[in-house]
């Protein structure tokens, strides 16, 4: 970037939001710490599952590799919640008013947020994967598969950030956003095959999971990590993410617009 360039506003705001995360590293580490601890604990607790015929019949050989995608997704969902919290902070401090009275596109403000979220989520996910590899996990589909997993999970995280921002803009309280957001996030995690392979889940849970985009991303990640790629699953995941984005993004944008009237 030359010194006489105009910085695109979304990039400037994105840089601002990333800088915030870098200067308050606790924010990022906190949303990373819990999934890492869960990863370590549960991969030990359920280690024996990999030896059961039911598990092996599905093609999985390591519970760790199977479990990593769920925790990568969880760390990103936490970061998504923080994106909503950051919006509440911007409302409370008057920062959002400052931006809204500047001659910039409204979308730049949201875009700046999304860019920062995506950067943070990708780096978090990468850290998670490195930890998993250090613990002995080996992605079946190699680096390409690991990168795809990061891509899917980040896309889900961005969609989830849309939900968190929607909550933040409608509830206008960091406490409420945190409580409601955490409830939705943990529900989204537990109503997935994150801990147990999908075919082994009770029927009703499998049905519920069909409406949960996190379930698609986690299942895809599990295949990429443990079995191999399945294009049909990729397609279903992309559709699920697309549908979720189509619902949540316009709702978040509408909530954002409502702030200005």
């Amino acid at each position: 970037m030359g010194p006489d360039m105009r910085l695109p506003v979304p990039a400037a705001l994105g840089a601002r939001n990333v800088t915030r995360n870098l200067r308050t590293p606790m924010l990022v580490t906190a949303s990373l710490l819990q999934p890492v601890i869960l990863l370590v604990i549960f991969s030990q607790i359920f280690r024996g599952l990999a030896d059961t015929p039911a598990f092996q019949r599905l093609g999985y050989t390591s519970y760790l590799a199977f479990f990593v995608p769920g925790m990568v997704v969880l760390s990103m969902l936490f970061t998504a919640l923080q994106s909503g919290m950051a919006t509440v902070t911007d409302i409370d401090t008057g920062m959002l008013d400052k931006l809204l009275t500047s001659p910039i596109e409204r979308s730049s403000i949201l875009l700046g947020r999304v860019i920062a979220d995506a950067v943070t989520m990708l780096s978090q996910g990468a850290v998670m994967l490195v930890i998993a590899v250090l613990m002995g996990a080996r992605p079946q589909t190699g680096w390409l598969g690991a990168i795809s997993l990061l891509g899917y999970a980040t896309a889900l995280g961005v969609v989830w950030a849309g939900l968190a921002n929607l909550l933040a803009l409608r509830l206008r309280s960091s406490e409420l956003t945190m409580v409601v957001g955490q409830f939705l996030t943990l529900s989204a995690l537990f109503l997935t095959p994150a801990f147990f392979p999908k075919p082994l889940l009770p029927g009703w849970l499998q049905t519920v999971a069909m409406g949960n985009p996190a379930a698609y991303v986690i299942e895809t990640g599990q295949r990429l990590m443990g079995i191999g790629n399945d294009w049909g699953q990729d397609l279903r995941t992309l559709i699920a993410l697309g549908v979720a984005a189509l619902i949540l993004v316009p709702a978040a944008v509408a909530a954002f617009r409502a702030r200005t009237t």
Binding site: P3, D4, L7, V9, A12, R23, L99, T260, T261
Partner: protein, 405 residues
Amino acid sequence: MAVDGQAAGHDLRRTAQAAPVAYGAPGSGDHLADAAADMVPGEHPRRPDRVARRRAEDPTITAASRDGLAIEVEDLGKVYRGGKTALAGVSFAVAQGEIFGFLGPNGSGKTTTVRILVTLLRKTRGAARVGGFDTDREPHRVRQVIGYAGQSVGVDDDLTASENLAMSGFVHGLRYDRSWRRSAELLEAFSLGDVAKVRAGRLSGGLRRRLDLAQALVSRPSVLFLDEPTTGLDPQSRNALWAQLRELGRQGTTVFLTTQYLEEADRACDRVAILDDGRLVTVGTPQALKQEVGGGRLTLTFVDGASVDLVARALAFCPGVTRVQSGPSGDALVVYVDDARASVPPVLRLLEADGIQVASIEQAQASLDDVFLRYTGERPRTEARVEGAVSSMFGAAHGRRRHGS
């Protein structure tokens, strides 16, 4: 003030009942609100001939700056969802380069007006133009000409002072290096050079406010909106701020501000408007408004207490007396007069003739407080409810009983 506790308690009971009555201003606010509306005729909002006519007509705009209007507001109304009316038809105009003070009790609609003018709120009635642009139809153009510092300090606590200012430059479309240069300039101008590299979150309240104001100036706005810019600042910072605002006014920047510090508004604003309950009750230069309430005032306390009624009746035919009103503390009465010193002997004579014994008398020139008091019927407060609670607690502690509320 109170002569002794016993008498004061007695006074309070009697005056409290009569307190809300104000003499000499029949119908108090309303006719003046109409007069203010007349100054800005509410015709079709887009006809240039009408604008030109108004420029010539509005007598409260200083002649020197009549050529350009920075803010034009006509019959502005805002009803919030849920039905609360915040603004009930406000009209005024602000000339370019003017420092315009917006005064009024809490909840009178000051912030609502500012938020409509800076495009953060949509009006529900009337017309509002800033820099010639309609706030609803051309918000983007409005945003290009304004700077805004709201009640809450809009700085990013995680960025340093200089980064905050540069960020503001990026957001206003300044080039990369230009943004940093502007940031350095403003740090210098606002004496923030020493804390340029300090994160805003670690700055004191006063410094953060200063940074916020500097941020509002990054784009060199032609119209600056400040919502209570001096609240929370120490006297030195406040004086420095006013000096800066006057300098900006000299350079041609229009400053529209709300404040609770009437004395400062008196000294720094070219004109002030007083808002009460969503209506503009008066607008004019501080000088003219003070003249209107009378040149001076006498604050009286009485040996046996006296009601506004009683004193007003006694002074009904006293030359030079314009009005009698209950004072800031329940037991004192304020008599507005044309000439404070000359009025003392006749006032005392007439009161004595009616058997009202004066305990103390204090003379003063009229201030903007008096104007405010006359039009809004209340002393300006920063926290109305808290103050009410404190004074009733204070009253209870002193064995007083308050009547009515």
